[in-house]
């Protein structure tokens, strides 16, 4: 692997032991994955923040690195922590957990990692530019940055994202390279997708099948012009594919950035004039749209595996247990957008929840929601809008809940094994109804019967 002279000074210790350790991580990963050189990263997003997942070992490591003098040299954003940093008592967490969690946050802050505490930095002003190289680690954030924003990031681990922030570099392999951003699977979706839950169920289904591939989705059950997926739908889709599989990049025809470049290429006369370009050789799609570069078109070979999704009932059946009584409702995985909080506020206004309701989001979005009067009706109804955390990284097993309702396929996928919770999985509206009654609305199979 070729290193610049600056990179050599990092690796040989001339910039200190903390930088050396970071560069050892970056270069070792480059060697393992066959990179020829490093690339500068515009930002890092650092997971492995919750004390639940780090344990004492991770805490000691982060504190040690901070004391050794590790400092980030590019903007670095913190993933959610195990608790709302201000209102952890209200969540029911122990002081012991809170104290350890605060130490993790303090160590990361000492290194210069920003206290964003979110899996959605792109919702709070940290929007990567198309073509930028990143070292992001939370899987749904990586998926969104690659797929919707056209930036370039592998799925980094917590320490490797931090190492990239400390050196300002990551190794050029995987999704940093054009060749690896081509679709590996075509996914023909023949059923309609009506809610974030449907998109999540689809993501669950596709992720299981394509693993770490790059699916190219054609949403054929939609009246596409009238019913394009919105931001929340794409967040749910990407998060689920990244959880049930290891999908870090997907394309949705006519929607996502690199897929949309097909239309650019069509309009400029570089490809045949039909909107969907299918030839004997396969499907023509654009894969490179770095700033200042012409989109390059690639032909997906005819033998590219094609998955046809006729309905989502099997995905719903896998994520949704037939529970009647619910004692915990969780929205906000990935972290809620302002629009989602507004939807929940509207449904809860003037009512009273019967069971614990968490809406989790970033602190920045929570503050905006508060200013717009959206938090008050939720909390007046007895719900909680927590910042900095989510149920995937909070120590749920300490809290004694048994039956959760969620609109997140990712949360429904992880909760049984990771938090010991059984799940109902459906729309935001169904989840709010469950919070208001303590029972899942409608017959157990409603989610799938709808389709």
């Amino acid at each position: 692997m070729q290193l610049t002279s600056e990179e050599h000074t990092m690796l040989d210790g001339r910039q200190g032991a903390a930088v050396q350790k970071a560069m050892q991580i970056v270069t070792a990963l480059g060697e393992i994955y066959g990179a020829e050189h490093l690339v500068p990263v515009a930002s890092a997003q650092v997971s492995g923040v919750s004390f639940k997942n780090l344990g004492d070992a991770g805490l000691e490591f982060l504190e040690g690195w901070a004391v050794q003098g590790a400092r980030v040299r590019v903007p670095a954003y913190m993933n959610p922590t195990g608790m709302d940093l201000q209102r952890w008592r209200e969540m029911g967490l122990s002081a012991e957990f809170a104290q350890k969690q605060q130490r993790v946050v303090a160590a990361l802050q000492a290194m210069g990692v920003e206290l964003t505490c979110t899996c959605t930095p792109y919702l709070v002003g940290h929007v990567p530019r198309t073509g930028e190289h990143l070292a992001w680690s939370e899987s749904s954030a990586v998926s969104y940055a690659n797929s919707v924003l056209g930036a370039r990031s592998n799925r980094e681990g917590g320490p490797s994202a931090l190492a990239a922030a400390i050196t300002g570099r990551t190794a050029a392999y995987g999704l940093h390279l054009d060749a690896n951003r081509q679709p590996t699977h075509l996914v023909e979706v023949r059923c309609p997708l009506r809610s974030e839950a449907d998109y999540g169920a689809l993501g669950y289904r596709v992720g299981r099948q394509v693993g770490d591939g790059v699916p190219y989705l054609r949403l054929q059950g939609q009246d596409v012009r009238a019913d394009l997926p919105c931001q929340e739908h794409l967040m749910a889709l990407g998060a689920a594919m990244a959880a049930s599989g290891a999908v870090a990049l997907y394309h949705v025809e006519g929607v996502t950035l690199e897929a949309a470049a097909v239309a650019t290429s069509v309009a400029s006369g570089e490809a045949p004039t039909s909107e969907v370009v299918t030839t004997n050789a396969g499907l023509v799609v654009a894969t490179s749209v770095a700033p200042g570069e012409e989109p390059t078109t690639q032909v997906v070979p005819a033998n590219t595996p094609t998955i046809v999704v006729y309905d989502l009932s099997a995905a719903y059946a896998a994520l949704d247990s037939p529970l009647d009584q619910i004692d915990f409702v969780s929205l906000g995985c990935p972290h809620s957008t302002l629009a989602d909080i507004a939807r929940a506020a509207e449904l809860l206004r003037g009512k009273r929840v019967q069971v614990t309701l968490w809406i989790t989001t970033s602190r920045d979005v929570r503050e905006r929601a508060e200013r717009e009067g959206l938090v008050a009706p939720i909390e007046a109804a007895g719900g909680h809008v927590f910042a900095d955390t989510c149920l995937v990284v909070a120590p749920m097993e300490e809290l004694g809940f048994k039956a959760m309702a969620t609109n997140s396929a990712k949360a429904a996928f992880y909760a049984p094994s990771h938090s010991g919770l059984q799940c109902r999985f459906g729309t935001l509206e169904q989840c709010i109804a469950a919070a208001l009654s303590g029972h899942w609305p409608g017959p157990p199979s409603e989610g799938s019967a709808r389709l």
């Binding site: 350790k21 050892q24 991580i25 070792a28 990963l29 060697e31 393992i32 492995g48 997942n53 780090l54 344990g55 004492d56 070992a57 991770g58 000691e60 490591f61 681990g157 917590g158 320490p159 490797s160």
Partner: protein
């Protein structure tokens, strides 16, 4: 005495008795950080302690938090003396680097049997037979069993 070459993931010098696994190792949940004992149910090394051994296995698996489990083992003096893999992946590689554990991959691990005395120095792995001839035969038999 056999000499093997590998690719350096973390450069260092170490010596210890080999502990060979035919199955991948996931450190989070797979190895008890308080004792260094492999606790994954049904794992070929279940019940064996990795501390001070030259740990030989095909590749890593499992949660990325496993890097920190290796670090915790190292802090408690329970880490492997060195790690030899067929194919390295990010979790174990990062764990070895942050813990200062010498590590190589692309090593022909079929030449190493549990109980062999193994010395790692840079990219070179030297395998000596420290036990009696009888023990050597035992480990050879065991190796044969593991391969088949």
């Amino acid at each position: 005495m056999i000499q093997l070459r590998g690719r350096v993931i973390f450069r260092g010098k170490a010596r210890g008795q080999a502990l060979v696994s035919t199955a991948p190792i996931g450190f989070l949940g797979g190895v008890d950080p308080a004792t260094g004992v492999v606790v994954e149910l049904g794992h070929p090394l279940q019940g064996q302690c990795v501390a001070g051994r030259v740990l030989v296995f095909p590749t890593g698996k499992g949660s990325t938090v496993g890097s920190y489990t290796l670090y915790r083992l190292a802090r408690s003096g329970l880490a492997p003396a060195a790690i030899l893999n067929v194919r390295s992946e990010a979790i174990v590689a990062v764990g070895a680097i942050i813990s200062g554990i010498p590590m190589l991959d692309q090593v022909d691990v079929s030449r190493i049997a549990s109980g062999d005395t193994v010395e790692v120095d840079g990219d070179t792995v030297t395998i000596g037979r420290s036990g009696t001839q009888e023990k050597h035969e035992d480990t050879k038999a065991q190796r044969h069993k593991e391969i088949t």
